[in-house]
Symmetry: C2
Subunit: 446 residues, 2 copies
């Protein structure tokens, strides 16, 4: 197969899965999510295509698709040598398009759209090199890797030179760490046992099953009702014991003081972290919560709604996060994720990516594997979220073994969504949606 030289087309599809039917994914702020994708295919002058995505929870996915279309003319026609030759500059040309940037900058719908496009370009690059994304990143020279980053607004936290030196200082032992990880896998934690609207017996059953499959780390949704949370916490600890890790996630539900008060009541059950206690923009609020709860052994974790590297810089500088939960699609794709991983390393904060959803597990595993081999060099306090839904629709689904992500070997990043899934779940014309509109299960979202 000949290698591509330029981009000939960019196609975006709105793909939605009706997860709200089973309350999978329910939390304190998102009662009925339908896990969805704005799914981008970048076509080239060869047979190789790049596939990228951003994750959403249903309604509004078409708005992200609309934004992807608006960026299309910045991408189609570009030579791949120009893009990958100075990826940092190309990334900036999208994020700083001088009219569209007003709608952000670098946040919300336009940045989600940027992520979908940028992730497709990385998928393409990895396929061209015949490597899974993590391996492409691990093998890249530090100078080249750092050239993909837009360092604007980061200089007071991490300069380009510091980033290169940090990467160089951690070259020793890379081969050993790669071999080790291929052997052990990367530690996962599961969110699938503890959705907010799951009944007690379902929690008990799922957690017991997960343990029997080797799972060692568990997360529970909180923030609906404190008595419910205490009861569910007891069920978790009765089922998993106190030697396994257990975390809780409020999905932005509380005020600052409320977060502190609520978590004090859950402290006896020894959660490792409270995730997203309050609004994701409230840096100083998170810092106040951390200051109050850290003495109780409870850390603050956040990041899945943290919009860009500038916001992560605030959280890191303000000691407002003890766990950095990057999302592969919330920020502007791989380039910005690398920037945040490097900043977190400088501030000694472990990166534990947000996943679950659909497609996110497939993406973030590459980022964590790269982090371990090339940047963080430690598995201490590192774990990747895992939820067991919808992987059957992926061309290269994640594999979990003994509670760990198996290091992927298929070339690419997302690799792709199966054609059959697209036919069924493209919104609104896919066969499954048409069936569910016809039988009244759903009303079309106009």
């Amino acid at each position: 197969m000949s290698l591509p030289t330029r981009i000939t087309d960019l196609i975006v599809k709105d793909i939605r899965f009706p997860t709200s039917l089973e309350k999978d994914g329910s939390d304190a702020m998102h009662k009925s999510p339908d896990y969805s994708l704005a799914y981008v295919t970048v076509k080239t002058d060869s047979e190789i295509e790049g596939r990228g995505m951003t994750f959403t929870v249903g309604r509004g996915t078409h708005i992200v698709c609309c934004a992807v279309e608006a960026f299309k003319k910045l991408v189609v026609g570009q030579k791949l040598a120009d893009i990958f030759g100075d990826f940092g500059q190309f990334w900036q040309s999208i994020c700083s398009e001088d009219q569209i940037r007003w709608l952000g900058p670098e946040k919300g719908v336009t940045h989600l759209a940027t992520a979908a496009i940028v992730n497709a370009l990385w998928d393409l690059w990895a396929k061209m090199e015949g490597k899974p994304l993590w391996k492409l990143l691990v093998d890249m020279e530090p100078e080249k890797l750092v050239s993909t980053i837009d360092f604007r607004y980061m200089e007071d936290a991490l300069t380009k030179q510091e980033a290169i030196e940090l990467l160089k200082s951690r070259q020793a032992g890379k081969a050993d760490r790669e071999a080790e990880l291929k052997n052990t896998g990367f530690p996962a934690y599961t969110t699938s046992c503890g959705w907010l609207d799951y009944p007690d017996d379902k929690i008990r059953k799922l957690a017991t099953e997960a343990i029997s499959q080797g799972m060692e780390r568990f997360k529970m949704k909180v923030g609906g009702d404190i008595e419910d949370d205490i009861r569910r916490a007891k069920i978790f600890r009765e089922t998993i014991g106190y030697d396994r890790l257990w975390m809780v996630d409020a999905n932005q539900k509380w005020e600052v003081q409320e977060s502190i008060d609520w978590m004090k009541k859950l402290a006896p059950y020894k959660p490792l972290w409270i995730e997203e206690p309050t609004n994701p923009d409230d840096i100083m609020g998170h810092a106040a919560i951390a200051e109050a709860l850290n003495p109780l052994g409870i850390a603050v974790a956040t990041g899945e709604h943290c919009q860009n590297r500038v916001m992560f810089k605030q959280f890191l500088k303000a000691k407002a996060m003890q766990y950095c939960q990057i999302d592969a699609c919330r920020v502007g794709g791989v380039n910005e994720c690398i920037a945040i991983i490097l900043m977190a390393a400088k501030y000694n904060i472990p990166v534990c990516p947000h996943a679950g959803g659909v497609g996110l597990c497939e993406l973030v595993q590459h980022l964590s594997i790269f982090d371990y081999i090339s940047v963080g060099c430690s598995l201490k306090n590192r774990t990747i979220e895992y939820a067991d839904h919808l992987h059957e629709h992926m061309e290269a689904p994640v594999k979990i073994k003994n509670g760990c992500y198996v290091v992927p070997t298929v070339p690419g990043y997302l690799v792709g969504v199966k054609e059959e899934a697209i036919k069924q779940f493209e919104y609104p014309m896919g066969s499954e949606w048409q069936r569910m509109f016809a039988d009244g299960t759903f009303e079309p979202d106009v």
Copy 2:
């Protein structure tokens, strides 16, 4: 005319003005803006309509329109008594739509769309009461006014009870302040003389003309080249002297240290403030810049890209802004602007709204007049931005007299955009755009 009882339709239009042709509005980050509106009309069961908008700078306006359409079903069919009876709750029902909120929450495209809708509802309410918006706000009982605010994530800065007490404490003298303002107008500053790409002689000519019309306050765009900025600063001070106020605006161009270094070179020309020195999300960066520059007599102003009340809370708590520049459309409309005005009052920070653009001057004058009469009670350090473009397209354009905004008397908020302007500038089918596509002045934005 009978009063409306419910909303029967919501229509959104993409209206763009080709301001890039004359470099009006050019700054360090937005070289060629085409000032635009996502323009919302709320129709009712009477002849009274509400008109609202959000401001954009050209490409991507259709993405905001797409988001407005996505919220449509939350608005159409609603009873006005329900909306205005608990406007805070209605506002929250839009901002926290449990699937669409994933795309923000409360930031970027979806929040701009929220603003356009919410502003139309306030326009409708003011028209129903037969009052300009500022008067509707000024006459409202504190409890009622505060019921329009969503206090989530604000409690550690300002509680509902504190807000009510603050408003009550400033009731005395309201009638006097209203009478005074009708007499004097509200102080304006002009941005129209100092766009980045204006040649020196144009700056001198425009500033001289402005002085002859009574203008006392001026702003200049900076951040392209330091030598250019120094030369332009000299021209300004030669033309306006040192008794008039002069501010500078970098539109997010610099790093933190770069902001400090650059402004030290402009300090001899005594700017009142440096506006948006760096990325709008960099709260701690702004605080560091303020700490370094305040001893030189230079304040930090920011807010036009500040996405919501939670971010304003960070800036206020961190002493990162000495002037609070709310934008009537960046945050979620009047409700959130009132929340921010009240928080700023508590932290003793003057509010000087962002305007210019198109339609923004028409909107923010109401917010500042309300602020003066009911909240801030002082004109010290208060001034509203003014740019003299595109007002001819407004049904109720602002009036400037002796360098001050004349207090508006027409019922409503935006009131409306003229039908003729819509016919010419609706994008892409308006007659002016079709003419400019045909003669090659512009290519259609696909």
